[in-house]
Symmetry: C2
Subunit: 108 residues, 2 copies
C-alpha cells in the first residue's frame, strides 16, 4: 500500500497530469484529444497517461484505433484517507455528520 501511495502522490505532483485529470473529470477522452491543449508532443502526453494509469488514477480502453481515457477517482481514496489522518483540517463536524448518517441510513 505504501507503494500505491508512492505512485498516486508522484503522479499528482506534476501539473500537466493534474490538468489532465481535471479534463477527464468532464468526460472520457481520446489520447489525441487529451494532448490537444498542451504544447508538448503527443508522445510526452502518452507517457503522462501511462503514469496516471500505473497509479490507477485512470484506465485506458482501446476501441478501434482510438484509446479512451477514463478517470478513476477511487484511486485517490487511499491517498485522501492517508491525508485525512493528519486531519486537524476537517472542514465539518464529523460527529454531527455521523449522527446525520445514522438518521438517514439507519443500521438494520
Amino acid at each position: 500500500m505504501t507503494q500505491r501511495l508512492d505512485h498516486v502522490f508522484a503522479a499528482l505532483a506534476d501539473p500537466t497530469r493534474r490538468q489532465i485529470l481535471s479534463m477527464l473529470l468532464e468526460d472520457d477522452m481520446a489520447v489525441t484529444d487529451v494532448a490537444e491543449p498542451f504544447v508538448m508532443s503527443l508522445a510526452a502526453i502518452s507517457k503522462h497517461l501511462a503514469i496516471l494509469a500505473n497509479a490507477g488514477l485512470i484506465t485506458q480502453e482501446k476501441r478501434g484505433r482510438v484509446k479512451w481515457c477514463k478517470l478513476e477517482p477511487d484511486a485517490m481514496k487511499d491517498a485522501s484517507v492517508w491525508m485525512q489522518g493528519f486531519g486537524q483540517f476537517e472542514p465539518v463536524n464529523l460527529d454531527a455528520f455521523e449522527a446525520f448518517l445514522a438518521e438517514q441510513f439507519p443500521p438494520d
Copy 2:
C-alpha cells in the same frame, strides 16, 4: 498555487518522508531523533526534512544546537481540497449532506 501543490504532492510521494510526518504527528522532534529509526545517513534525513519544510509540511526552529521539527498539517489542506474536487468517492449523498448543513446552520 499549482506550484504549492507540486511541492506538497512531491514531498508526500516518498515513503521516508511520509514516515517522518507520521512520527511528527506524535510530537515535535530533533533532527537526530527523526533520523534514529532509519538506516540512511543523517545528511540524507536532513535533506528530506528540508524538502518537507519547503513544501510547508513542517517548520524547523533552532534552539541551542538542536533544530526542532514540527508538523504543519494545514499545508496538506490545499492538496486535500484539490483531491476532494474529484469527489466521486464521497461516501454519501452530497445533496443530502448540504441539505443537512443548511438545516443545522441556516444562512443569515
